[in-house]
């Protein structure tokens, strides 16, 4: 009977190699890829016009195609919130809850495995590769807390870990697995070469935006100023776009930096009050929060004016539109550099 494994495909090299190693032992493998909302794939490229000529391939799909396996993309946006908001094992260097994230993903893979009659799970983890989630001490935590136990195989570092069920049962030959460890990428590159794989993606920091310092700062700012740790998919998408300027704790402006971003922000006009200059060309600015009084409205308009072609004009006409279509016209002087302190930039 041909055994079946489900492999967590991130789009990076390690999960690609781990999958190939298992396929080469005659196992039927299908891939699973999780969409958390924080994935680095595509988004910013799709939004920013200047990036649109860059390669837009989705690496997980690309890897699956190279390997000749099916790929199931699973939307975990809702359930993942609790991982980001309340990680039991805390955060890494930024707001990346890597250990809880791994446990969660493997547990979802286990659920998928059971629903689809598969036998075991593969990940591309390597002992000692990442400071938080891939230490020797955390590997058993992932196996145990996910409930996958000895049905979780890490083919790239299997020799450094206890024998798993597929090895014991003879579905996998232990000697055909590997014993990689540490941060060096050399063994992986060598194995890729041996397998004739090239052109693979090598994400530097991690697989998601939560490992990015400036992104994490924007997310912390959002939580702090809302007074609660929550988010919606739109919130976290918008953190990837535009300049974020917070002049007051109760409101922040999201200002498009170029045409592509302005087009993207345009799609949110019914959800956020917004400002744009009418006497000059310029960006769209979404208001996240509330403009409490005239002073707030004039300040928001003056900041919006500064980022358009009316930057040096004495006066710029700005329209403020509410989500219900009502609005007002303001005539303002663009805010000067001195009056726009660095600390307002999130």
């Amino acid at each position: 009977m041909q055994r079946k494994a489900v492999s967590l495909i991130s789009g990076g090299l390690d999960s690609m190699l781990a999958t190939r190693v298992v396929m080469d032992q005659g196992i039927h493998v299908e891939g699973i890829n999780f969409f958390t909302g924080f994935c680095v794939e595509g988004h910013t490229h799709a939004i920013r016009k200047q990036d649109q000529n860059k390669q837009k391939r989705n690496n997980a799909l690309w890897v699956a195609e190279q390997l000749g396996i099916k790929l199931h993309i699973i939307d975990i946006v809702e359930d993942y919130k609790d991982i980001v908001i309340n990680p039991k094992h805390g955060y890494g260097q930024n707001l990346n809850p890597c250990l809880d994230c791994k446990v969660f993903m493997v547990s979802r893979a286990k659920q998928w495995m059971e629903e689809n009659g598969f036998d075991f799970i593969i990940t591309g983890e390597v002992v000692g590769q990442r400071p938080m989630s891939q230490r020797r001490a955390t590997m058993p935590i992932v196996s145990k807390n996910s409930g996958a136990d000895d049905r979780l195989v890490r083919p790239l570092c299997a020799h450094n870990l206890p024998e798993t069920l597929p090895e014991r049962e003879g579905w996998l030959k232990r000697e055909a697995l590997y014993g990689f460890s540490g941060r060096s990428r050399k063994p992986q590159i060598a194995l890729a070469e041996k397998m004739g794989l090239d052109d693979f993606a090598q994400p530097a920091g991690g697989c998601c935006f939560l490992t990015d310092a400036s992104y994490s700062r924007k997310l912390s700012d959002l939580w702090e100023n809302r007074g609660e740790k929550t988010y919606e998919l739109d919130d976290i998408m918008l953190l990837k776009v535009g300049r974020h300027i917070r002049p007051r704790p109760w409101f922040k402006l999201i200002i498009g930096r170029e045409e592509g971003e302005n087009n993207f922000l345009n799609g949110y006009r019914k959800q956020f009050p917004h400002l744009f200059a009418t006497s000059h060309t310029g960006p769209l600015a979404l208001v996240d929060g509330e403009l409490r009084d005239d002073e707030d409205r004039r300040l928001a308009a003056a900041i919006t004016a500064r980022f358009g072609h009316g930057k040096k004009a004495d006066s710029v006409d700005v329209t403020l539109e509410n989500t219900d279509g009502t609005g007002m016209q303001l005539k303002v002087a663009p805010i000067s550099e001195e009056n726009l302190p660095r600390e307002w930039y999130v």
């Binding site: 969409f35 099916k70 939307d75 087009n263």
Partner: protein
């Protein structure tokens, strides 16, 4: 054979692919899924997803800022 429509406008990849995948799951083999998207990334992701999972991409057409796809579902879910 029936035709199912998926509106994935304003969604960014991989959401349009996930919507297509969900529609395929509910459809019968041979049904047509017609998808409209605005993320240019779908021009590479949707064809790749179809090739990998054994569905037939009948057409992929750009019209201004919108991308239209017609996918014939294969035999396997």
């Amino acid at each position: 054979m029936s035709v199912h429509k998926v509106d994935a406008r304003r969604l960014l990849c991989p959401m349009p692919v996930i919507r297509l995948q969900d529609a395929v799951k509910k459809a019968a083999p041979g049904d047509i899924i017609s998808v409209v998207c605005t993320d240019p990334g779908t021009m590479s992701d949707i064809p790749a997803w179809c090739r990998i999972n054994g569905h037939r991409l009948q057409s992929a057409v750009q019209d201004g800022s919108e991308y239209f796809f017609e996918v014939e579902t294969g035999n396997e879910p």
